[in-house]
Amino acid sequence: MLEADNLECVRGERRLFAGVGFRLEGGELLYLQGRNGAGKTSLLRMLIGLLPPEAGEIRWRGVPIRQAGDDFRAELCYLGHLNAIKEELTPLENLLAAARLADEELSEDEVLDALEQVGLAGREDLACKYLSQGQKRRVALARLVKERRPLWVLDEPFVALDVAAVDWLAGLISAHLQRGGLAVMTTHQAVAIPAGTVRELRLS
């Protein structure tokens, strides 16, 4: 479903990587590994179409993502290392606004349920600026609870989470893979994902 061929990345004057390629089918997870500055985030940003590769091509369902455009983005969920939540809005408003912008049907009850799952019950009406780092991260991750789009691209999803939350998120990703979804993620922590096929790609 997701294929990358011979990707090359140049940032500034430096070539970060070249000749990177992989194929990912439904139910598979790709772990991107590499030291700091190896280009993991750059590769993720290429996969979601924000950063055009210097060379090479990325295809989704056989169509280059540049051509697929909106059709590709309608099947993509990206979680960057920034939380993409608004400090002034409450967790509830943040999630509802994010769903509307992404063209998803999401009811208030579903959002409240998602917030309860990430352990933010009772905080849904508190502006996000009063939440801790970990709690803000949980608001961002709550987007994934009801997310049914096939391709998840996650940049360091386990950062700032406690042990219980790491297990919960690993379970969420497993469930996504079991539904036939794909996931690409970077992480420095070794987290076991119980289900699905795990592939690894090391950038060096």
Partner: protein, 222 residues
């Protein structure tokens, strides 16, 4: 298509309501700058009447500029801009929504205040009506053109000054026709022609500017 625009407008308006200090400070800036002129020039009705259109319009341009640097900067900083760029819609529509929201909180209040401030310059009722109309019609163009500048200077250090240098020259046509409409009314020629040209400028700016801004945003996000 309309849904994404309304979703962005609703979100930005809600954010603006939570940060009213920004809106209020731009409005007070407008009020104070405009009020300084009658105080500085003194009670000379003829001179004030002549100066009024230019003063009000220049103050409106500057007040609109105040909030422009934050048009995309906040969304860029917290990562929401990436999510907006990844929404399954053309980015130009998202920018259109943001421009409309910017106008609603920065341009529309200026049009409401303008007739009250115009009284300080001894403008006739007819001139006040045309002044309000010209600001109402012209400010959307300011938000649209300003959007291009805000997108181009996104993430630059000292972007605020660069933004002014980039955008203010592009505001000149709006200034000329906006102030011209009031001038023409005061001198008895009628401001309709100026207002029509102003409306044309606004339509062109709202049609093209969001797409140019969207292209600049894509580059800023790379």
């Amino acid at each position: 298509m309309l849904r994404i625009v309304t979703a962005v407008v609703a979100r930005d308006l809600r954010l603006a309501m939570r940060r009213q200090a920004d809106i209020v400070s731009a409005l007070f800036f407008f009020i104070i700058v405009v009020s300084l002129f009658p105080l500085g020039i003194g009670p000379e009705p003829d001179l004030l009447r002549k100066l009024a259109p230019g003063v009000l319009w220049v103050a409106a341009l500057l007040a609109t500029m105040l909030s422009l640097p934050r048009l995309f900067a906040d969304d860029h900083r917290d990562g929401t801009l990436e999510q907006l760029a990844l929404a399954p819609h053309p980015l130009g529509l998202v920018v259109t929504g943001k421009v409309i929201a910017h106008w609603l909180v920065s341009g529309l209040p200026l049009a409401v205040l303008a007739p009250v401030l115009g009284l300080q310059f001894d403008l006739s009722t007819e001139a006040l009506v045309v002044l309000t109309a010209s600001i109402l019609i012209g400010t959307p163009a300011l938000s649209g053109i300003g959007g291009i500048g805000a997108a181009l200077t996104l993430g630059l250090r000292g972007g605020g000054v660069l933004l002014s240098l980039l955008v203010l020259p592009l505001y000149i046509p709006v200034l000329i026709f906006g102030a011209g409409a009031v001038d023409a009314t005061v001198s008895g020629l009628g401001g309709e022609a100026h207002l029509s040209l102003l409306a044309a400028l606004t339509l062109a700016a709202l049609g093209f500017a969001p797409w140019a801004a969207a292209a600049a945003l894509r580059i800023a996000l790379e």
